[in-house]
Amino acid sequence: MLKSLHKRHSELAKSKRQVEILSNGIFQSGDLPKFKDKIAESNQFPLKANKLEILQINVGYMCNQVCAHCHVDAGPDRKEIMTKETMLQCLDVIKKTEAHTLDLTGGAPEMNPNFRWFVEEASKAGIKDFIVRSNLTIIRANKKYHDLPEFFKKHNVHVVSSMPHWTKGKTDKQRGNGVFDKSIQALKDLNAIGYGLPGSDLRLDLVYNPSGAFLPGNQMALEKDFKKALLDDFNIQFHNLFAITNLPISRFLDYLIASENYEDYMYSLVEAFNPEAVKNVMCTNTISVSWDGYLYDCDFNQMLNLPVKSKAKHISEYNSELLEGRSIVISQHCYGCTAGAGSSCQGSVT
């Protein structure tokens, strides 16, 4: 199994080093414009936060998988786990927020020992769309997780799961040996209780990340191909596919540099820059909460340790008036969310 950058003591395990790489080289020499200057061309700088719609909470970086592209650098060796105390602080905000979506992520969020309690409590708040980002294999990883589909159903959880391709080779290359077979089994388990079936209220969406140094194709076309292949080959159904661009941070940045694809990839992102996508980037309607309760404009900024520009910096200090209208913290990784049809945790944005 691949090891996390932290486990490898890689210099890229340090967020500061990643930000340096993204700020120097082709961006410092002027070969490519900095993101700030690019969005200024269409009078979109500074990027400002609107009303909160999505509260995304990262309950820990521990994961049973070590995916080659992971922007969290998650893995079994990561010990950063949200405590019950921080979860209680999050619940205070969840109960009073006007956000329509609560989005739990990780790592594998299910590995947090207080995950089930947190879901039970959070579901009482009656938020319209309650997402758990499940990597699927966790459902089959250990007997204690086998009942997760039933647990999700009980709490009307919207399951969003990663699936980079409908073939075993491409999936296992990105996510590890054996991941494809376990994911297929987990999808069958979810389908068996009604998740992902046409007309079902039990939402099951898949996330597609390219398995290499290229951008995602058209989301609708990919969804069509995924649906056909998964149905024909495995009798599996799901609702929607979210095509997400890999952002050049953490393990994907490490891969880009090691494979000498970094500069070409950055050129691809900049050339595909779409000013229309800037209007709908997720940081304008999202707050990302880290395992230790700090607030970020998005999950990527969390990993780069770029906190919100606001007096309210921690979930315990959450204040919608202070956070709304804040200037979004940007760097060159933001090109990943504005390329082509745009990219967010909910897929394309245009």
Binding site: H165, P210, F214, N218, D225, Y267
Partner: protein, 111 residues
Amino acid sequence: MQKTYYDPADLRKFGKISDWNEELGSKFFEYYNSVFKEGSLTEREKSLIALAVAHTIQCPYCIDAYTGDGLQRGITKEEMMEALHVAGAIRGGASLVHGVQMMNKVNKLDL
């Protein structure tokens, strides 16, 4: 002075051909973009045809572009290689089918 005929970075400058003749360049790119839109054939099918043609005409820029395009569309390496064998079969067949001409000539001249 450039030391090689092909530079991968030049692919990114393809659009610049319009700089020296905007009217024809614009018409070409409008046509080009229309060709690759979904019609009776899907964009995916057109991408595989383009990849096969790219190898037939041995255009390094096109091979680069349509390999990347195929990956973006989720086309597998097995599908790409099958498309290339179609190109290879037609190229090989085009040589071999001329063998009939050779055979005709031999049959006419030989005792």
